[in-house]
């Protein structure tokens, strides 16, 4: 069964943009605590560019939508988030190339995205980066029947709370060592909004 159509893929990006713009200040505040304070600004700007691009373009496949998003994020977000999200969406697009997006295909795509993030960021689980969220989502999708997409949200919320107690080992927050404790990782938070947008779009279909 197809779970994500071209239109829904576009909606996913549009919903992501809405959430990231809505939470721009929150993401920036989180980043000011342990990074360089531009995560909200960069993500809102990047996804707004994505929406500008995809709204004016016709796509044949979900893979094409995600590839377009990947190229735009890579070119417009900057910092570390641009290459990380750009790579994640590009690898998902490659994984979905020539396929209909069934639940199985989507799980494979999340795996591919996760692998892309790991290759690009050289992160491991538990290092207080957005990789943590993707890792947990992938693990959840492998462990559960596919009709429970909402379960993604609980998994995300739990890992986001966990990042609060972690010491950052990657990225600019790692310079703070122990002082990075006590703050939620901003990249994990933005990944949550992207997965939340995905779940919202699938839920609309059910409703």
């Amino acid at each position: 069964m197809v779970i994500l159509t071209v239109d829904q893929a576009k909606q996913w990006m549009i919903e992501s943009q809405k959430k990231l713009v809505e939470h721009k200040e929150q993401l920036t505040t989180l980043d000011q605590a342990i990074g360089d304070g531009d995560h909200g600004i960069n993500m809102a700007r990047g996804f707004s560019e994505v929406v500008d691009k995809i709204e004016g373009t016709e796509y044949d496949t979900v893979a094409d939508v995600l590839k377009s998003a990947a190229m735009t994020l890579t070119a417009k977000v900057g910092g570390a988030s641009g290459p990380l999200y750009g790579t994640a969406f590009l690898k998902m697009a490659v994984s979905l190339q020539g396929k209909e997006v069934t639940a199985e295909a989507f799980v494979d795509a999340v795996d591919a995205g996760l692998e892309g993030i790991q290759t690009r960021g050289k992160a491991e689980f538990g290092e207080k980066t957005l990789f943590d969220v993707w890792y947990q989502v992938a693990a959840f999708l492998h462990s559960e029947p596919y009709d429970t997409w909402e379960g993604i949200l609980e998994v995300c919320q739990a890992i986001i709370e966990d990042t609060r107690e972690m010491v950052a080992l990657r990225g600019r927050a790692s310079y703070l060592k122990e002082r990075s404790k006590g703050h939620i990782d901003p990249g994990s938070m933005s990944s949550f909004y992207i997965f939340q947008a995905f779940v919202d779009v699938l839920e609309w279909e059910k409703a």
Partner: protein
């Protein structure tokens, strides 16, 4: 915020416009990009050297484009790495078929964006290699973390790699020379005041009148310790001792760079030089050459960094070849 700008969001574009107009005889901007390249690029048979990073570190990196140093500098937003598409344009513009070496400061964003560009260039059939500069001893080096940052020592990597590339050396040879500098260069800085990113409008941190921050990065990242204001002698000693604790330069000959962070007068930098040279002599370290001035700034931050590079015959030879750039002699 009191700055000489037209609009905070336009500082990079406006600066680049002014830069290429002022220096049009020796360099140009690739249209619709933030890439500055040598007027004569690509140079037949020569390995192309590309570096870059966020803006706000002027004269880095565009000031180092020219004979004996870089072929291209890729300019990002203030304190933000340039994106892969921009780096790719630079690579394509300077490749003469001999390959391109990327010189990257060790920041997560810079490394990822430049690596992505390298992959894209390779997909287009261009041979690309990279060196990552991590000279800042304020940050602990560890394979389990992001590791030490790249700061003013990067300029000396540009210089030596650039000199070796001018001789027609292969990509592997240029990379080897650059890596030798990376292995032998260490730096550390301190700040007397913070700096303000134009788009942010307020300082990245605050220091009281009588406080200094030891070990700050070049983006106003926190240092390792905040202490009361000291004399030039004490501040210099603090940095030199930390560098020497990381790498033993005893009985070696070194090149020194005293780098102003943007708002420290040359008068003060020369006072620092005086103290640093005296300290090095005390440790039995000979001075080959020195550069004192602004090389890798952090907007209008007051403060300085000290860089030491152990020199051997090959590095000395490279440092003595002709160099024609705006900011390095």
């Amino acid at each position: 915020m009191k700055k000489v700008v037209n609009h905070p969001d336009k500082v990079v574009q406006d600066m680049l416009d002014g830069f290429v107009k002022a220096h049009h005889t020796s360099m140009k901007r690739i249209p619709d990009t933030t890439v500055i390249i040598r007027q004569e690029a690509p140079i037949s048979g020569k390995v192309g050297l590309v570096s870059g990073g966020g803006s706000g570190h002027e004269p880095a990196h565009a000031g180092y484009v020219g004979k004996g140093m870089l072929d291209a500098a890729v300019v990002g937003e203030v304190f933000t790495s340039p994106t892969p598409d921009q780096v790719l344009e630079a690579i394509k513009a300077v490749d003469s078929g001999a390959g391109v070496l990327l010189i990257i400061k060790n920041y997560t964003g810079d490394v990822m964006n430049f690596e992505m560009a390298a992959e894209l260039a390779e997909a287009e059939g261009i041979t690309v290699d990279k060196v990552i500069v991590n000279d800042d001893v304020a940050v602990e080096d560890s394979t389990f973390t992001t590791g030490r940052r790249g700061i003013a020592g990067t300029v000396l990597v540009h210089r030596v790699a650039g000199a070796v590339a001018e001789t027609g050396a292969s990509l592997a040879e240029v990379k080897q020379a650059a890596e030798k500098v990376v292995r032998n260069v260490r730096s550390m800085g301190l700040a007397l005041t913070a700096c303000t990113v134009p788009a942010a409008g307020k300082p990245s941190f605050t220091l009281h009148d009588n406080e200094i921050e030891i070990g700050t990065g070049i983006h106003g990242e926190p240092g390792i310790e905040r202490v009361p204001l000291q004399t030039a002698e004490e501040m210099s000693e603090r940095l030199v001792e930390k560098i020497l604790a990381d790498k033993d330069y005893t009985n070696s000959e070194v090149a020194i760079m005293i780098n102003g962070m943007g708002a420290t007068p040359e008068m003060e930098l020369y006072i620092v030089y005086r103290e640093v040279e005296r300290l090095l002599h005390k440790h039995g370290i000979a001075v080959y050459r020195a550069w004192v001035g602004e090389y890798m700034t952090s907007l209008e931050m007051a403060g300085f960094s000290v860089t030491l590079l152990a020199v051997d015959h090959e590095i000395k030879q490279a440092l003595s070849t002709p160099v024609e750039t705006i900011a390095f002699r």
